[in-house]
């Protein structure tokens, strides 16, 4: 059955159809404007040599792939948000872009070996150490396990705190789907169902003074109109942290209660000191003589 699925995907590929989420179709969709589909080209070139596949689909401000490539095979251009364009023919498969892409969204594919196998190189930054010869779980972009693959090679690239490049051998049909290798299987326990949950709906809002939301609501309901007034009425935000953690939720609560916008309530009048300071320090006048 697995084989049949792979055959089907292989057929789709030949027909130029999308190969699933994160596949060529998605890239083509993102790359509008009559530019060449780099995936198609990469796919072809990968028959001869290792080549980078740039799976960058969101126009975010980012260009390290361009500077990473010493061959000039990846271009972002003046618009830092533009999607990168790669030239598979120019790519020498060095893997620097794979290591330096902040999104970890570049891979090398190499189909030059025969026998229906492809070597895919993915970036890796997890704790379990990959070594050549090991078996790893191979996953797609959604984290779905495609199966197992043999690690062919592990190398480090990208500065002092390097990223590992893990080359894994997979069936050729997975070549464009593999997005990562996993060495650890997390024990993700299924969360248990809780029947008939009825919370009180109440909780502390001011951690320091231990004042519950209900108390704040009560004070707000009795007409206090500002954060300062609410503080006076309930001591909310007057504790050790000076409201640094309850200010925002309180303002939202009060705004809701008074039917006003948060912005109308204002930021208040913060007073020094912004951090606790010992009397001995605040009152000290002896400062070591320093040059300013």
């Amino acid at each position: 059955m697995k084989e049949r699925k792979e055959r089907k995907e292989s057929k789709e590929r030949e027909e130029g159809k999308a190969t699933g989420e994160g596949g060529r179709g998605a890239a083509r969709d993102a790359l509008q404007g009559g530019r060449d589909d780099p995936w198609t080209a990469a796919w072809e070139v990968s028959r001869r040599k290792a080549v980078a596949v740039v799976d960058c689909r969101q126009e975010i401000p980012c260009d390290p792939c361009e500077t990473a490539c010493r061959k000039g095979a990846i271009r972002v251009g003046d618009d830092v948000c533009a999607l990168p364009i790669s030239e598979p023919e120019t790519c020498d498969g060095c893997g620097r872009c794979v290591a330096l892409c902040p999104g970890m969204a570049i891979y090398l594919i190499d189909r030059s070996a025969d026998g229906g196998k492809a070597a895919v190189t993915v970036p890796y930054e997890m704790g379990e150490e990959p070594r050549a010869g090991m078996e790893a779980r191979v996953v797609d972009g959604e984290g779905k396990e495609l199966g197992r693959g043999k690690i062919l090679e592990v190398r480090a690239m990208g500065g002092a705190a390097a990223t590992l490049l893990v080359k894994v051998e997979v069936p050729e049909t997975w070549a464009l789907k593999v997005r990562g290798v996993r060495l650890r299987q997390m024990f993700i326990e299924e969360p248990e169902e809780v029947e008939g949950y009825r919370g009180t709906g109440d909780c502390l809002i001011c951690r320091c003074e231990e004042i519950a939301r209900a108390e704040v609501e009560k004070a707000a309901g009795s007409g206090f109109r500002s954060l300062a007034a609410l503080r006076r009425a309930s001591r909310v935000g007057l504790g050790y942290c000076q409201g640094r953690f309850c200010r925002e939720p309180l303002r939202e609560e009060l705004a809701r209660k008074c039917g006003r916008g948060v912005e109308e309530l204002g930021i208040g009048s913060p007073r020094p000191p912004l951090r606790p300071v010992k009397i001995s320090r605040l009152g000290g006048g002896d400062v070591r003589d320093t040059q300013f």
Partner: protein
């Protein structure tokens, strides 16, 4: 004896990307800035970031956060910028003085120009059990993990699938923790797709349209109750840590104390010191940059820091109008580029509103 007070041309509050870039740019204009930071190390939030950064070559993109921080600190040293660490600015007064608590004692600074690059603070939201040990900000978890080498828990639930939540979830995995899931009330992530993909690749389930109801436990978190918004189904996740990544709030207190006009922009984190495109606040001689001027990316903070320094240098007479204009043009173009993509449309909207008044 009264508080010692020192005159100086320029003080930058905050040694994060915005503050350090402001100091570097000021140094280029010949102004020796004094950078104050309450932390033991310079670099601000970059210091605890271990992932490679987005942005362009001008922002150190492709390098890891802590590497960029180290480079900027080194750059400051080379440029003769003094960074005063473990120095908290306790107040900023209408007269312009800054009250500092540092290793030298408590003293006053009287700068001609002040750049407020105080960054942002983690937003939090109250829920039943949020005071339990083991519930913490995602940023707090990140500090614990990447700076101190301690896991916040063995099994963690992340609340919020924005960039911070996704990045920290990934970093939890890197350090060896299990992430039981990422819970997000919205239909999709506000963060970058690549971050989402990375977390998913490691097998972490991301629960969209789910919200956190409560944390349970006695001496610390033992479980979290999560509800699916659409079905009303409640489930219990057994975890020993709960990280909150529900947004950041600009730290605008110093600006407010100083008397700067405060504006509001939901898209930028809430209240922030009003500023013009050149990063001048409503108070002459006071400038703002980075997350304190509205929460955005580190790369934006860097260019904003430089812009603020250009404005300060120009106002101090250290940079003539033509040179200032040229520098500004380049920086504004760069910022426009950083804010160009579809993920920044809300930022552009808020900025346009802010600039309009």
């Amino acid at each position: 004896m009264a508080l010692p007070a020192y005159e100086c041309p320029m003080v930058v509050v905050g040694a994060g990307p915005a503050g350090l870039c402001a100091a570097l740019e000021a140094a280029e204009a010949g102004i020796r800035a004094l950078v104050m930071d309450e932390n033991e190390r310079g670099g601000g939030q970059l210091y605890k970031q271990i992932h490679r950064f987005f942005g362009s070559r001008h922002h150190g993109a492709g390098k890891r956060g802590f590497e960029i921080a180290a480079e900027m600190v080194e750059g400051c040293e080379r440029a003769g910028v003094e960074i005063r660490l473990s120095s908290a600015v306790l107040g900023c007064f209408p007269g312009g003085e800054l009250l500092v608590d540092g290793p030298e004692g408590v003293y006053l600074l009287r700068p001609q120009a002040t750049v407020l690059a105080t960054g942002a603070a983690e937003r939090c939201f109250p829920f039943a059990g949020w005071t339990l040990p083991g519930v913490m900000g995602a940023g707090a978890a990140q500090t614990l993990l990447n700076v101190h080498g301690v896991l916040p828990g063995k099994r963690v639930l992340m609340v919020g699938a924005g960039n911070v939540g996704l990045i920290v979830a990934y970093q939890l995995l890197q350090a060896g923790a299990e992430v039981a899931g990422v819970v997000e009330a919205e239909r999709g992530s506000r963060g970058y797709e690549v971050h989402l993909q990375r977390v998913r690749r490691e097998g972490v389930p991301v629960y969209f349209r789910h919200r956190l109801l409560a944390a349970e436990g006695d001496e610390g978190v033992e479980a979290a109750l999560v509800e699916s918004v659409d079905e009303g189904r409640v489930r219990r996740f057994r975890v020993d840590a709960l990280c909150l990544a529900v947004g950041l709030v600009p730290q605008a207190e110093l600006a407010a104390m100083r008397g700067c006009r405060i504006a509001y922009a939901d898209e930028l984190g809430g209240f922030l010191p009003w500023h013009d495109r050149e990063m001048r606040t409503s108070v002459p001689g006071v400038y703002v940059a980075g997350d304190a001027a509205g929460v955005e990316e580190a790369s934006v903070a860097m260019d904003e820091g430089r812009l603020a320094a250009v404005a300060a240098a120009e106002d101090l007479g250290a940079l003539d109008g033509a040179r200032a204009a040229a520098k500004r043009k380049e920086l504004l173009a760069r910022l426009e580029g950083l804010r160009g993509g579809p993920t920044a449309s809300h930022i552009r909207r808020a900025r346009a509103r802010l600039n309009a008044g």
